[in-house]
Symmetry: C2
Subunit: 144 residues, 2 copies
DNA sequence: TATTGTTATACTCTATAACTATA
DNA sequence: TATAGTTATAGAGTATAACAATA
């Protein structure tokens, strides 16, 4: 039963996270920034200042998409754009104190052990994902 | 460490699923239907024919959004719209054989134990979600 | 009058293609 | 020429508001 059909898990997980994302985006009207903005700002908070191109790669979006996100965060005073010291083509995006504290409000300090050590998925991790799909579904279904 | 800060887990999970969704939507260019369409079609496959209003509720979208999804699935020949037998206001959306087999191709038969028995989250389930965030992140980061 | 579904309209997120400036 | 970032444009997904048909 464990490592039987990984393909169906992928499909179930896809559907589950799509619904959860829908849910999360909808329920953030009380927050000052969108999930897209928070995700980018969190990466800057965690990994430090970087260029738009690198941030786009980290967030798995194309550069023009990140240009927009950065512009919106800049308008909100959450990041600053400064020239690159040696390369005139590049710029450096840095979170402002307001941006950092906003991430700290939304995220917590528990960040360390979540960002590294990857590896090939084993049976145990697959089982964890299976359970997680159920849990995600239960969360979505319960929050009527 | 277990039930310490559920809030930070929620934030981490949000960011993780947003990135995974981005990833999944982008990588489905080989599939004939989008994740949004697959999710609705899967629900019809699992729960049977239903009205657009009920399907919208199941999928956690508003009725006008579901109208669009159903129209697109209908154009592809994956669902059919038939009049409600007694209530002239309602219609019944039914997956066609092509729609059912498409879901079967994408999903597998392992569906039973994933749809029911919900409950309040316990320490173990929270830990599962924490691990799942790492696994999701590792998947996203590895599929360079 | 209340309900179901649809149409009209708009906003967010994301992409590709084309452009500008610098290396 | 190649690279970094931006602008222009388009499409998918979703929402709210207004409408039509039926109960």
């Amino acid at each position: 039963m464990i490592s039987a059909d990984v393909q169906s898990l992928a499909s179930d997980l896809s559907v589950a996270v799509v619904r959860l994302t829908r849910h999360l985006r909808g329920r953030r009207s009380d927050s000052p920034i969108s999930l897209t903005q928070l995700s980018a700002l969190s990466t800057l908070r965690r990994e430090g200042s970087m260029t738009p191109g690198l941030l786009a790669a980290r967030e798995r979006v194309q550069p023009p998409s990140m240009t927009r996100v950065i512009a919106s965060l800049s308008e909100l005073g959450l990041v600053e754009r400064t020239p690159h010291p040696t390369d005139g083509r590049q710029i450096i995006v840095t979170p402002t104190p307001a941006g950092r504290s906003l991430v700290d409000d939304e995220n917590s300090a528990r960040e360390a052990w979540m960002t590294d050590q990857l590896g090939i998925l084993g049976d145990h991790q697959i089982q964890v994902l299976r359970d997680a799909v159920d849990i995600i579904n239960s969360i979505v279904n319960e929050t009527e």
